[in-house]
Amino acid sequence: MNIIIIGSGTVGSAICSQLVKEGHDVTVIDSDEKSLSEISNTYDVTGILGNGADISLLSDAGVENADLLVAVAAMDEINMLCCYAAKKLGASYTVARIRNPEYIPFMNLMKSDANLSMTINPEYATAKEIVRNLKFPGATKVDTFCDGMVEMAEFTVTKNSPICDLSLLDLREKLNIKFLVCGVLRGDKAYIPSGTFVLKEGDSICITASEEELVKFFRLLGGKRKKAKHLIITGAGRTTYYLAKLLGKSIANATIIERDEARCEELSAEYNISVTHGDSTSQELLLEEGIESCDAFLALSDVDEENAIVSMYAKKMGVPQIITMIRSLSYINFFKDAGIDSIVSPKSSTVDYILRFVRGMADAQDSEIESLHTVLDGKIEALEFVIKERIDGLTETPISKIKRIPNSLIACIARGEDIIIPSGNDIIKIGDRVIVLATGSINNIKDILN
């Protein structure tokens, strides 16, 4: 596909790197010479220096033949203008990053008027991710499939966990829960496990189940622990605002610590919430706010280092669930190595979101990818397909008889309202939604057939 990216910042370059790898023709426009030359020196793309909202520049970049324009420049206004202009000039699809919540209604207006395809609000996406994670205490990452009917959660096996040192077959017998372990990350290597696979301490595993079953699973895993109620949140930035909005009434049990007094007042005026004005890096204050007894600790301030440090402290104090927001993409791996495992990042959410959109677009031509997530550090891809027609060797064939490529798995079948965690005798019917996992790249459901 022909893709134009406006903005060569961290998000622009992260999107660029992946799109080039997937073989798209990418043109990047930015007015900052330094970051632009860096991007065009590193990736196989064309760099054009200038303002992305400049009509003549856009047509020089070949916007009329572009399949997609991604606007991730620093300024919302530029992104909006770019998308509007690109659409008028003939680009097929546009994606704009809009961070200022005040512009969202405006964008909706423009969406219907100028037929814009999609906007992404990074902080809102992050807040949504946090809400998903909070549902399952212990999970480090949660993705949803089939319109929210199926959940896929990642977590790390600890020594005292009831599932440690069990084979998957034993696990299924022991726990009366319908779920499937569909991926294991041990060290650097990702496995799609068979029934005899034994889980070990330190494995990151990825499981699929319906929401109720997954709640049951995590309850079993965490002993008596219930859904997180008492939250401590540091920082009252945009993400915290959206989080408060999404959590609705249950935010009443949260304590927010924010250094800026004006922000504190603003937040408490808007939501029924307990706000403390103070320095979140003060141990004294954290103890006073009850870090020892809270259910979850969310470090969402604007300063990455601060988030990392207070998260480490929270971990030491034994907080069962800790979510850390890291803005800088380059920090993420450092902090992961330092033991902070549940990291949310507005930037990587944006990147994931846009890549998913591109994949969906590219694949829509020959098959129907409904959703796509990468799990276990991006080592395994999970895709949801809709089965529209008869496929020899796949539909109406018992799962155990389907000849799959190695390192692939049919993780779940959704038929109407039913969620089937497939065993060997289940069959795939036309109209089903199927979730497939593989360590390689899959673009079509037929790709998993050997």
């Binding site: 023709d25 990736y43 196989d44």
Partner: protein
């Protein structure tokens, strides 16, 4: 340094060379000559390069430095192995001379070591290979490699940067592979067009191919002792002159024609200046040689024909000759030396400083002069209507310094060989700018130089073709220091 990636790339380059050697081998077979020299070379190349296909680099990171070194080593190795057929066939007995001849071919210099009058006696297959190296080296073998390998592994953009000449290196389309492919398709189409045009003048097909390789690669090797003059065919001379001018044009122009972006052509300053220089120098030379005291020409038409051919041939850095310009009046010789130094357009197959660099240098000179009497003036430099980045201006200025140094140093060393001043200085200029014939003793052959001198000149040609940096990186000690 990523040695595994480097090994893999170099292996691939040599494998491609082995493939390309099949063409001269076929020619040798057609003319009932011995194909063994080529067969042996192909065998050696296969033995050397095939094992590298089994190198599986884990780390595919490839930085600018690795790219430069890869390009520099590829060119040296290509020439080192490409010289074998000359030695094996007995056409050139001394290996260093054969290396010089091959470097001269790949770098599209066209400077020959074969003694004057000795070319026509050589086997046709060897002569075909000699000119075919022009065609391969013209657009660049790594560009060719990038065009044919399926999705380039790792970060190979630096390979193209290091090989395609010019101050600004843009891709035609976002993907490197597609860009390289487009370049080669244009190159091939123009070459075939020239072959067809030359066939119409009654030239034999073998000579048509050789001359088209020499023209489009802006090389200048010929199969006749007297170069193009030996044909005594005015129509062929005009056709070659036109295609020389075409070969010295930035290939982006042809791409714009293909995609009908005529606006971009009309505002291209380099093209305008390039054509102006060719035509103005043609006029100056023709008037000068026609009015010379030695009564060289009896009709102005003939003088104009020779002047046009020589101007086009020297400016495009091919170095074909239809007249002994070393006997022309001094003014014409000066014009020719200046043309040698300027060279043709960036993004073409030619050598030299490049017209676009000249434009940038002039513009920044003008700006600096203006700053002397108006110290606070600010002026952005524009090329083709777009503002030039200060980075480009700075790197062009520093390239100019490197350019001067890269000729002065070999000039000093070469003068130890004891040749006269004119021969020594113009040999370095003609080799560095990839022209071929120089003035004085080196007009038709470089056979008078000693072995160390020919080796030095071989590297001067490589420095010139790769625009200094790749070779400089290769030879700088800090590159090889272990950190």
């Amino acid at each position: 340094m990523n040695y595994k990636m480097l090994g893999r790339f170099l292996g691939l380059v040599l494998l491609i060379e082995a493939g390309l050697l099949i063409f001269p081998m076929l020619v040798a077979l057609i003319y009932n000559e011995s194909a063994t020299p080529f067969l042996i070379t192909i065998g050696i190349l296969a033995v050397v390069s095939l094992p590298t296909r089994f190198i599986k680099p884990k780390n595919k990171r490839f930085y600018a430095k690795d790219g430069f070194i890869c390009v520099a080593l590829s060119w040296i190795l290509l020439s080192a192995f490409g010289a074998l057929p000359f030695v094996l066939s007995g056409a050139i007995t001394n290996y260093i001379d054969a290396f010089f001849e091959t470097v001269s071919g790949f770098t599209t210099t066209g400077a020959s070591i074969i003694p004057a009058g000795g070319i026509e006696a050589l086997p046709k297959g060897v002569l075909f290979w000699r000119s075919f190296t022009h065609w391969i080296g013209g657009m660049g073998i790594l560009v060719f490699m990038l065009a044919i390998i399926p999705n380039a592994e790792g970060n190979v953009i630096f390979l193209m940067r290091a090989e395609v000449p010019g101050p600004q290196k843009g891709k035609l389309v976002p993907k490197l592979k597609d860009s390289s492919l487009i370049l080669y398709v244009i190159y091939l189409a123009l070459t075939l067009l020239q072959v067809a045009a030359l066939l119409c003048t009654g030239m034999p097909i073998y000579d048509c191919l050789i001359n088209a390789f020499g023209t489009m690669g802006t090389g200048g090797f010929s199969v006749l002792n007297d170069s193009i003059a030996g044909y005594n065919n005015p129509a062929a001379e005009i056709i070659i002159a036109i295609f020389l001018i075409i070969a010295g044009t930035n290939y982006n122009i042809f791409f714009y024609i293909l995609i009908k972006k005529f606006r971009a052509i009309s505002k291209n300053e380099e093209l305008k200046l390039y054509l102006s220089i060719v035509f103005i120098s043609t006029l100056l030379i023709s008037v000068n040689i026609f009015n010379s005291a030695a009564l060289l020409y009896d009709s102005f038409g003939h003088a104009l024909r020779d002047a046009l051919f020589q101007a086009a041939s020297i400016m495009s850095t091919a170095g074909f000759t239809t007249a002994s310009f070393d006997t022309w009046p001094y003014f014409s010789q000066t014009v020719i030396i200046i043309l040698m130094l300027i060279g043709a357009s960036a993004g073409s197959t030619a050598g030299g400083l490049k017209v676009s660099r000249l434009l940038i240098l002039f513009k920044s000179m003008k700006r600096e002069a203006r700053k002397i009497f108006k110290p606070n003036s600010v002026k952005a430099l524009k090329l083709d209507g777009d503002t030039l980045s200060e980075d480009t201006v700075r790197s062009t200025l520093s390239y100019f310094v490197f350019y001067i140094m890269a000729m002065i140093i070999p000039f000093i060393i070469l003068s130890l060989d004891g040749k006269d001043f004119i021969t020594t200085s113009t040999s370095v200029i003609a080799c560095f700018n990839n022209i071929g014939p120089a003035f004085g003793e080196a007009f038709s052959s470089y056979c008078g130089f000693s072995d160390p001198a020919t080796l030095l000149l071989s590297f001067v040609m490589l420095f010139g073709r790769l625009e200094i940096m790749p070779m400089l990186v290769l030879f700088s000690p800090s590159t090889w220091k272990k950190n």
